[in-house]
Symmetry: C2
Subunit: 341 residues, 2 copies
């Protein structure tokens, strides 16, 4: 029933210590010994006792994922990717939904780390953009990886996975421009999220490249929510000079804009083109379906976890750790920006 390291050792004809060496991939174990031991582990279906390993080594085999994101699909995708990586490396994932705006969020994170004895942490927005959290984690020496918006790798961002929102937003705006639009409005997400700023910058850069002066009234502050899209679009569509296209900072905002346009009997895409960002499932389920930018969140999460494991694992090869992943979301064209027929 219960297979211990002893059984494996006996089965493989080696000592307990050698099995332990293999498990912790310590150097100076011969290749064929490793094979022998691994064969024995497989044959006996050995499951190392995580509790014992934990206790003896006083390191832990779980990483944490803190989230506070209204977009459930994003969270689920992240979890999926993180779990994939965790399974591969024999780690466990501790999830922790919380309120990022809580005044003692830093303490909460530290408590989590202590209580669950986390080996490391993966941070997504908004946590990945809170400098005091990064600072606190650094101080207590807990490795962490941030998934953030950015396009240019740099040493300062060595523990980051970058999402190039700028370029993706540039591409979306360009798509609208190519469709013949020049009065393109932008519905911002939360100011605190740097993704919103990056996307705005991409939008502005695309306009600038065509020599189009950005109309300040066409840039509407807001937040990453349906409601914000409703309000923002309303404001835009009540202008005397309406935009002919709206680029929303994410799909939810875009859905809100769609809702507003419909209320005002504005036909999409004939009278108004709308584009979103994220490619969340409901971007396919609006009417008409939304043009958007696709982020491979599962893959991003996997990479983030892999990056983290390079820091948590003592004997892992760290030589490739300079590779800093950058993901560029891809343009997905759907009916919400179809050429008016």
């Amino acid at each position: 029933m219960k297979v211990t390291i002893n059984d494996v050792a006996r089965h493989a004809g080696v000592s307990i210590k050698t099995v332990s060496r293999v498990m912790n991939n310590e150097p100076s174990v011969r290749k064929d010994t490793v094979d022998k031991v691994q064969a024995a582990m497989a044959a006996l279906q050995y499951q190392p006792n995580a509790a014992a390993r934990n206790l003896a080594s006083s390191r832990s085999f779980s990483i944490g994922y803190i989230y506070d994101n209204p977009n459930a699909y994003y969270v689920i995708d992240m979890q999926r990717g993180l779990l994939d990586a965790c399974r591969k490396h024999g780690y466990e994932l501790i999830i922790h939904p919380t309120n990022a705006k809580s005044p003692d969020i830093v303490q909460e994170v530290l408590d989590l780390v202590q209580q669950s004895r986390l080996a490391g942490l993966v941070l997504t927005p908004p946590f990945s953009e809170m400098p005091h959290i990064a600072a606190a984690l650094e101080q207590i020496g807990v490795p962490f990886v941030r998934i953030i918006s950015g396009s240019t790798p740099s040493p300062k961002l060595s523990n980051c996975v970058l999402i190039d929102d700028f370029t993706a937003a540039f591409k979306i705006t360009n798509h609208l421009l190519e469709l013949g639009h020049s009065d393109i409005a932008f519905l911002c997400g939360d100011e605190e999220h740097s993704s919103s700023g990056e996307r705005l910058a991409g939008y502005q850069a695309a306009l600038a490249k065509r020599g189009i002066a950005a109309n300040p009234k066409f840039i509407v502050p807001g937040s990453y929510s349906f409601e914000s899209g409703v309000q923002g679009a309303k404001k835009l569509l009540e202008l005397s000079k309406k935009p002919t296209a709206i680029f929303a900072c994410n799909d939810e905002i875009a859905a809100g804009a769609l809702f507003s346009a419909r209320l005002m009997h504005i036909a999409i895409p004939q009278q108004l083109a709308i584009a979103g960002f994220e490619n969340s499932p409901f971007s396919r389920q609006t009417w008409p379906p939304l043009t958007t930018a696709h982020q491979p969140n599962v893959t991003i999460a996997q990479q983030a976890a892999e990056l983290l494991f390079r820091h948590t694992k003592p004997n892992a090869s760290k030589n490739l750790s300079d590779k800093q992943p950058v993901f560029i979301p891809e343009l997905v064209v759907r009916e919400s920006t179809a050429v008016s027929s």
Copy 2:
């Protein structure tokens, strides 16, 4: 930095063992000793080492949640509720997304239980409705709680949290009837999910009570997906005798139906009323927003976990364990079924 049970014992002036007794609320510790120990724990901010407890007691302090549900919001809510309960009882939650249709799903679940040494498991549909999983878990003696569709508590369902889909569906159908509809169609979810059957039964019962013969063409098989709603509604709206109202088995199907109706230039709710089920966030974000039934998923999950802990905890009072929670989703009326003006 690291506070151990030793420190607490010394601080409280008792033996290590007594502290341990307090932690596990074993009987036969005097009241004032308990207080003394708890005061010491609080003063030192003692965090018991889960790994050590695990190892020494060979029981575990984590429960599992397996999911395979396309509805991310549902999963997130479940997690939230489960985590709330876990935190309260000092447990950890191990999440495990997987494919319910995998041929060796039972083995996978058993492996998970073994590998993560789970103290128990919470099952939601579709897993909660797979008898071979329940059987396998019973056989290896791992406690589990199922969240399933049903209205009448019974001893056989002692470890279940029931969702009364029947009554909720009855209420929705009744709402449509009261609006003056009599040609009400029903878009089914997956046959394997008993919720679909229960909701269908509730729909039929409501019709029957009014003496309305159900038109078999108005009952369309399908699955819990947007696409299924699109197809199902299309079929219905191409009938020579169209329904005037559609009750979809969940919001996603309803959104699909909405999409289809729009394609066919059918005005909602003027020409067709549509109702969903679940009250997922996007039921509020369609145009028009969907009438639906609200399930308090966070609370449901909490209760499920509490129920589970009564089985996993050795010294817990089990006397209240006969109480079997039943939740009736509530009717939420929105514009998709507004009286045609």
